[in-house]
C-alpha cells in the first residue's frame, strides 16, 4: 500500500473518519441551501407562510 492509500483507509477506520467529515460537510451545505431558499422566498410576498421552512409552494 502506498502512503496515500494508508492515509485514505485511516488504519481501517476510514468509514468512521470520512463519514464524520462528509456528514458534517453535507449538514453545512444544507444550511446554506435552506438560507438560499429563504432568501428567494422573500421575493415572493404571497408565499409568506412557507418562509419558516424555506419551502416554496406550488
Amino acid at each position: 500500500m502506498t502512503t496515500f492509500e494508508v492515509w485514505l483507509t485511516m488504519g481501517g477506520k476510514g468509514w468512521y473518519v470520512w463519514g464524520a467529515l462528509g456528514m458534517t460537510l453535507l449538514a453545512l451545505l444544507a444550511e446554506w441551501w435552506v438560507l438560499r431558499l429563504q432568501r428567494r422566498a422573500l421575493l415572493r410576498p404571497s408565499q409568506d407562510d412557507t418562509w419558516d421552512m424555506g419551502l416554496e409552494s406550488s
Binding site: 488504519g11 463519514g19 464524520a20 449538514a27 429563504q38
Partner: protein
Amino acid sequence: MGTRVNWFYFAAPSRCYRLAQRLQPWLLAAALVLAAWGLYWGLWLAPTDAQQGEVYRIVFVHVPAAWMSMVIYLAMAGWAAVGLVWRSRLSHMMAQALAPTGALMTFVALWTGALWGQPTWGTWWVWDARLTSELLLLFLYLGYMALHASIEDVDRADRAASLLAIVGAINVPVIYFSVVWWNTLHQGASIGPSGSSMAEPMLRALLVMVAAAWCYTLAAVLARLRVILLKRERHTAWATRVLQAQETNA
C-alpha cells in the same frame, strides 16, 4: 479625551443589515481557508494517536462543533435576555438567527461523537451525563425554534421563545462540568485554563479548526440575520429598496 464610540449605531436594522452584508463574505472566506488549513494539519500532518489510532482525527470536527453548540446557546440566551429586558427587536432577531446554526452544531457534535464512540467505546450511544445533556441541548434548540414558529404574533413569539432560551441556559454548565461532577464514559477536558494534555501538532490543528468554526458560525448567523431583518422589516422603505434590488438581480 478619547473618541466616544456609539455602540447603538448598528442597532438600527438598516445599518445592521449593511454591516452583516459586508462582514458575511469575509467571514465565510476565512472559515473556508482556516478549515482547509486545519484539516490539512489534522488529517495529514498530525501524528497518529498512541491509544486511539487514526479514529481520533474525528475530534478535529467533533470538538469545535461541541464547543460552538454551547457558545451559540449562551449567546442566544444572552440576546434573548437583552431583548426581554430592553425590548430590543434586533436582539430577538439575533437570538432567532443563532438557533438553527446552534442546532446544526449540536447535531454534528452528537453524530460525529457517535462515529467516534463506536470504534473507541464499542457503542454508538450511551446514556452518559455528557451525551444526554448534549442531546437535551439539541431539544432546547428545536424547542426554541418550534415555539417561535408556532406563535403568529412576532412579539409574543419573541417573548415566549426567549423565556425558554434563558431557562435552558442552565443546561450549558451541566454539559461542560458533567465529566467532572459525574462518573462518565466520556473523557474529561483535554484543554483547560491550566494547559492542554494534547500533543502540540494535534492542538495546533484543533485550534485552527475552532477558529474556522467561529468564522463559519458568524457567517451563517449573519446570513440568516439578513433574511430575518428583511422579512420583519419588509414594510419599511430600506427593506423595500433592498428587496427590489434583489428582485432586479434575480
